[in-house]
Amino acid sequence: MTELLRTEDLSKAFGHFIAVDSVTINFTMDTLTSIIGPNGAGKTTLINLLTGSLPMDSGRIFFKGEEITKIPTNERVKRGIGRSFQIMNIFPMLTVFQNVQIPVLSLLNKSLKFFSRLDAHREVINEVERISKEVGLWDKREVLAGELSHGDQRLLEMSIAIASQPELCFLDEPTSGMNPRERVKILENIRRLSKERRTTFIIVEHDMDVVFSLSDRIVVMHRGGIIADGKPDEIKENQNVKEVYLGEELEEEII
């Protein structure tokens, strides 16, 4: 398996609280990985460090063999790293179409065109149309993003993330707050995009049904460290995970 992203002794503390504790991990291409753990385990902080949203205290990060430890977020995106956020993060005052148009313009190096009309770039329009149709938001392209339903906003956020054509995409709780129908829709999209676009997704998720149905690999975090890492079946049987993190609750859920 080709290595995509690797960390060495990644650490981050907020005061005395150690959020991420010497994490060394690698993510390989085409392996859909879920990161799970109780609240405060350090999952979102780990993603923030990997994507450059937060500065790390120590450690190193490599993407496709090149060190990206000190590279800012926007440069990491250009190299092929994308993400969605735990708390909804879209452009609420712009339409669905414009939300997807922004990353596509950036991808095609057209964001700094000062005097051209927005509809002058046919390739941008086509790409936005393609992505919007792919995720099922084309019919709502003229609606303001802030006025979409929660589920559609989640889909839109994922569309923005994939519009940059990342090789590696982090999705932070992509199904949170969704009803079952919306959840199915987003899971279908993740599976399809993962195959068709060959985007490697890394998902932080609390819903164990989602995690075990979707993942090729599961990483379990607890108190800033990794306590288990393996295939879903291995994680189900991992005594450490049952005792330290999931307890009886998960046993009931997954058996």
Binding site: T51, S53, P72, T73, N74, E75, V77, K78, G82, R83, F85, N89, I90, F91, P92, M93, L94, T95, Q98, Q101, I102, P103, L105, S106, L107, K110, S111, L112, K113, F114, F115, S116, R117, L118, H121, V124, E142, V143, L144, E147, I160, A161, A163, S164
Partner: protein
């Protein structure tokens, strides 16, 4: 298409949402402005020039506030840079174009330098930094007597002719010719900015306004884009300032004072932040309201402040929102009723 979307997307959607009505109204307004010197006296012409200049000043300011989400309280500093830069040149080279161009560039260079220091911050920190830098420029204008004339300012600035060697030479000493110069320059500046805000760059700025963290994950360098927007706003403030010395024949330090920075803020709030035309409508209202109030009291700012407050609370979208929500749809309806089937 939801109604609220049309309301909130401003005039960029006028064409699609309301047909040709705004274009017709706009053309009528431009024709009226060109005919104005034949219809009115010097005072109205003088007022109109100030409205046009404040429009340009406010549009530049709104590129920061309405499009990028940055509230600057220091734009008067760049306005003064434009005014002093133009005045200094005109006192040495009595030719209008070099004066105006140097004023704009002088303000642009200041905006680029100060912007580099300001755009690392947002919200109140950005507002306070711009306020401080604006007041530093005010202090320079006040204290650097050898260069700026101190509290006396620079006086006796000529309304120099518009000259392009070998091509054209137009006398500007009369109010009428200078009015046309200001009108054409301002219209060009407005059209240019309209193109910019409706370009990929303009859309990206709106993305920064909506979500700075999201835009970074589209591969955009937020700081660089903010710096460009800040510099463009500075250039527009500089242009507005550079048009003042030939009109008033003098420049003084209060041009850089923070209270002068409040003028584009008020004009933009009056007209509407999230519309391109809002600052223009606001500039018109600002001068009309001011002109009426000063006839009755010297404390016109208190009354103007109260009116702005009432309008902001009653009409959060500014007066342009009345046109968008009510007037233009109503006109369209009347046209639809009257047209043969």
């Amino acid at each position: 298409m939801g109604k609220s979307m049309i309301e909130r997307k401003g005039i960029s959607l006028f064409g699609r949402a309301y047909g040709k009505i705004p274009t017709v109204l706009l053309l009528a307004l431009i024709v009226f402005l060109f005919l104005l010197p034949h219809l009115v006296g010097k005072y109205v012409m003088y007022m109109t020039m100030h409205i046009l200049i404040l429009s340009v000043f406010s549009l530049g300011f709104n590129l920061l506030l309405g499009y990028t989400g940055l509230l600057s309280f220091g734009q008067a500093g760049f306005y003064a840079c434009g005014a002093y830069g133009c005045a200094k040149i005109l006192l040495v080279i009595p030719s209008l174009l070099p004066g105006i161009i140097c004023g704009i560039l002088f303000a642009g260079v200041f905006a680029l330098i100060l912007g580099f220091l300001c755009i690392r911050h947002t919200r109140i920190y950005f507002a306070m930094l711009t306020l401080c830098f604006g007041m530093m420029i005010y202090s320079l204008a006040w204290k650097w007597r050898t260069m700026t004339g101190g509290d006396d300012g620079l006086i006796g600035i000529p309304r120099a002719p518009l000259e392009i060697p070998g091509i054209l030479s137009i006398d500007m000493s009369g109010m009428g010719n200078y009015y046309y110069f200001v009108l054409i320059v301002c219209l060009l500046a407005i059209m240019l900015l309209y193109r910019i805000v409706n370009s990929p760059f303009g859309l990206t700025l709106q993305g920064i306004r909506d979500s700075e963290s999201r835009i970074a994950f589209t591969g955009i360098s937020v700081k660089n884009y903010r710096l460009i927007a800040f510099t463009i706003a500075g250039l527009y403030a500089g242009l507005a300032g550079a048009l003042i010395p030939p009109l008033e024949n003098t420049v003084t330090p209060p041009l850089a004072h923070w209270t002068h920075s409040a003028e584009p803020v008020m004009a933009t709030l009056l007209g509407g932040i999230y519309t391109f035309s809002g600052p223009i409508a606001g500039a018109f209202l600002f001068y009309v309201i001011k002109d009426i109030i000063v006839r009755f009291t010297e404390y016109w700012l208190i009354w103007l402040g109260a009116i702005v407050l009432a309008l902001v609370m009653g009409l959060p979208g500014g007066v342009v929102s009345i046109f968008q929500r009510r007037l233009i749809p109503w006109i369209r309806l009347q046209f639809a009723k009257g047209s043969p089937r």
